[in-house]
Point group: C2
Chain length 579, copies 2
């Protein structure tokens, strides 16, 4: 009965509000300023009004409209809700206000998905804020609940009229409030894989920084943290024997390693924020750090000083695909990684394999000669043998080179494109596999900060937030976009490679630019005008800072207070496509 009443209320209010709003306002979201709601990412559908509703830490009550929730499930829901009520809704909690009680109803219906987020999770939610101090979140999963709460948090603004006269002139009291009520938000993501890749090998990133990244992702409704865990420079993942030597010898120092316990803690933290952790163990290139434990399975190890012929950055080194021991190690890594990480997907690398490196080995040349293989066939040989060790239930992700080199890959495996949008379109049109977009000309966040091996400029240009924002996956495919392309485009990831970032600056460099990709991947494609988006991302950046994420400013603060006064003189330059 409770559920039925609730549903009737939802439907009735929706109609009522829509009617009243249509008659009162024309386009409330054209108004910008410190006292306006600015969503990021923009929800799919919103309808809203003009009323101000006071709300405070003491006045907020949570009520669950639920059926058949187990104690464990309720505990998990409580944890998720507490995360928001304790730190995300009210940043200046100390201010005591005596407002009328405000009730947030949370609907936990039959079939609600209490599990960890997966690619299949239904992330849809509805949020309704009425005029009589109540709100309702209606959703089918923990992820949907998190996103409903996040959107609710973005409705809550703060006024301090006493100390800052003129701040919110339309609000007559100090404290928190929801403006422009009532609200109806119906929201669902455009793509289901919305990620950020961090590199923990060039520099170690401690668990605190990874958890702060998870928070920033969740506040932006992004759901994947892809960890490029190992590379040539260091091997920070602690494994069980006989692979324990890999971190013992290949990590930078004893306190720059991830233990199984730390990885478990990280994944539990991420699960409560709806974020999946995707581990990457890159091979057969980018493996020099494996040589500290197993020097015999590598060739072209740290060739100097003419490294550029054998790899894309020092130190060089590539697995020797002709040795059985190589597969003992690779299969051992995959098996242990399968246990350490709960997500269905495991990234196996395959970027930038260098055939000169293999050709530098007499042993490999002899093997190729004896087996009448060319370099591509040797790569396929390595691939086929590595995949024999894929743990059951796991689906692999690869960098785009598996497509470029024409490898025979499993149908369900995912191809992540890191070159250009042209290349992405090519892979989409000419493969049958699921794809992820991470083109460096828009979504590499480490570009433009110089070149670590010399004084040439960075090999790729700095991607401003506008460039990140304008990166439309289907820009180059025929329209209407074929349903098959839509189905196979899981989404994308911005990538922050680690040569020039460590714990001191990785959050600063990644945010708020990663959030620009977050909206591209969440909101309808029609959200594509950076001038429209500007006041919203300015406020989102401030929100991230208020929540402890040291996101970089993108305009002088004056522009936050004077929306539209910091636009280009010639707007058309900015609204057009970036290609």
């Amino acid at each position: 009965v409770h559920n039925f009443v609730h549903m009737c209320r939802w439907v009735a209010l929706r109609c009522l509000v829509a009617l009243s709003i249509l008659s009162v306002i024309e386009c409330s979201n054209q108004v910008h300023g410190p006292c306006e709601v600015e969503f990021w990412p923009h929800p799919k559908d919103i309808v809203n009004g003009t009323e101000v509703i006071p709300i405070s830490f003491n006045s907020l009550r949570i009520e669950y409209i639920s059926s058949n929730v187990s104690p464990q499930e309720q505990t998990k829901v409580n944890k998720v809700v507490d995360q928001f009520t304790s730190t995300q809704f009210f940043h200046h909690r100390k201010i005591a206000t005596t407002f009328p009680p405000f009730t947030l109803y949370i609907h936990l219906g039959p079939g609600f998905d209490y599990g960890a987020p997966t690619l299949q999770t239904n992330e849809t939610y509805k949020l309704f804020v009425g005029l009589s101090n109540n709100a309702t979140i209606d959703t089918a999963s923990i992820s949907g609940l998190i996103y409903g709460l996040e959107t609710f948090s973005q409705l809550i603004l703060y006024n301090n009229q006493t100390e800052i006269p003129g701040w919110c002139d339309e609000v007559s009291f100090d404290g928190y409030f929801i403006p422009q009520a009532p609200w109806i938000v119906e929201d669902t993501p455009r793509f289901r894989w919305r990620g950020l890749m961090l590199d923990t090998s060039r520099h170690y990133l401690n668990i605190d920084v990874l958890e702060q990244t998870v928070l920033a992702l969740a506040h932006t409704k992004m759901n994947v943290l892809h960890l490029h865990l190992t590379d040539a420079q260091s091997f920070p993942v602690e494994f069980q024997p006989p692979l324990d030597v890999m971190a013992k010898k290949g990590s930078y120092t004893y306190n720059q390693r991830y233990s199984a316990e730390m990885l478990k803690e990280l994944q539990q933290f991420a699960e409560l924020w709806g974020v999946r952790i995707i581990p990457e163990f890159d091979s057969p290139g980018h493996v020099y750090s494996w040589a500290y434990a197993f020097p015999e399975i590598l060739v072209c190890k740290d060739f100097q000083p003419d490294w550029a012929q054998y790899c894309n950055e020092p130190p060089c080194g590539q697995l020797n695909p002709t040795l059985n021991q190589t597969y003992d190690v690779v299969h051992g890594i995959m098996a242990q990684a399968g246990n350490l990480f709960q997500d269905e997907f495991i990234h196996l690398g395959y970027d930038e394999v260098n055939f000169n490196c293999w050709n530098s080995s007499e042993e490999i040349l002899r093997f190729m000669d004896e087996n009448q293989m060319n370099s591509q066939q040797l790569l396929q040989y390595y691939f086929t043998n590595q995949l024999k060790g894929l743990p059951e239930g796991k689906t692999p992700v690869f960098w785009e080179e598996v497509f470029d080199e024409g490898l025979d890959i499993p149908n369900d495996s995912v191809i992540q494109v890191w070159n250009t949008l042209t290349e992405f379109t090519n892979v989409l049109e000419n493969s049958q596999n699921p794809v992820l977009l991470s083109n460096n000309d828009a979504w590499y966040l480490d570009c433009g900060m110089g070149n670590f091996v010399g004084r040439q400029p960075s090999w790729c240009d700095y991607n401003s937030w506008q460039n990140v924002y304008l990166n439309e996956p289907f820009e180059m495919v025929p329209h209407p976009v074929p349903q098959d392309y839509i189905d196979r485009t899981y989404g994308g990831e911005v990538a922050m490679w680690g040569e020039m970032v460590d714990a001191t600056n990785v959050l600063h460099e990644a945010w708020p630019r990663a959030a620009a990709a977050g909206e591209r991947l969440w909101s309808p494609a029609s959200f594509s005008n950076p001038i429209e988006a500007l006041p919203r991302i300015l406020k989102h950046r401030q929100r991230l800072v208020d929540r402890g994420i040291p996101a970089t400013p993108i305009q002088p603060l004056w522009c936050n207070y004077n929306p539209s006064h910091c636009n280009p003189t010639h707007p058309p330059i900015d609204v057009m496509s970036h290609r």
Copy 2:
């Protein structure tokens, strides 16, 4: 007698050590690694040996060899020394070691300059570290003492053999030590003005961040923090009436202002680290924030949307030079600034004056017509009238436009060049004034991070640390460099404009790149090879991080541990001049 003994010891030891070293080692500084001394900036002259001297927090004793030191003077010296012994020498103080006592002798001779740093301060110092657990700093000023202590701190390394086997194989114990002893360092700066400019108007920078900047400057032997205090966006400096309205109305919020007390605290802090604070009050352009208090003295106020015709970035606005009230305000600012800041120099701006802005005012056009003035003459009129209010004893600094526009400026006033090195050379050769180098194509640290008003790239390219480092002031003048050019080149400043940085990231973006300019300005011109400099700046960056400055990494950590393995494949590209 004490002094005499000390001097004899100095001379005798110097000869002894030089002899012993010459016979033992060839070129000890070619060795790099975690257990090697890496100076930044490199001292003028060093001689050293091969011995390891243990040292610890408990074993260090300070002894003064002094004459006629007043109690106040001794107090100041103690404060300076304590700053180093308490936080800069030993970062892991907790480790208790029972080493033999180590005595650091500090020589405070007759004529020692205990005053605040000025352009005339003698910054020379000598540091001697013997083989019998003693060291001596010999210098003539507080600044010299600070630099001697800084160099001494750079000699002190740390070994933790127990936890990190193989870290310093040549050191047989855990704890702090000075390697490669004995040491003789004789050091003096090449230029006397070694600065960083920060912008506190586009974003407010709190005193904590400014003090951390002072620390980073001092550790790099830089001595000027130039504060671009006001600009179009905000006016954060609190003045006495009748100018108190300027910050009350023109600052962002009540807690984004500098009170007189805060500025005093900052200057006292900076004085103890040998850093001069140079204030800038930019006019007649870049003054929109003045309009909140005095709207009547500005023209072309926030012209929109075609702002680009009237100023270089929004909001536009320029002082009306035809009004008496303009000079009341400008003279009031200079008078109060003269009291708030103790340094001899005051920066008065004059960059990017836009004649279209003035021409947009009927009143100004009429004034020019009546007085038969062109725009340049109107600028000279403003200049002449402004300078009538220069406080006694103050020397002005101007941006290069005063030269470009052919203004008649005082002989001792300083011209700061922000365009190219070509422009700097032109000003050096064709003016008689002292000059400062801040060319944007090498020393603007904010370049390359996008354009805040649109999605075009930044108007200037990112300057990597190598580009900053290779910026040689005299590269384009005839050699040998005329003595007059050397005398008039006070030095230079790297500039970090504030559109895209605030307290969250200004330290990250400025360091360690600002330090690359620090060595250019301190060390002999022969230090000009970024490949030679690389292991040194890597360790300096780590030193800054250890001391609480979140400097950005410039290479994967692997490169710190494997010096010379991250060099370009083709070294000649990097050692050549950058033009």
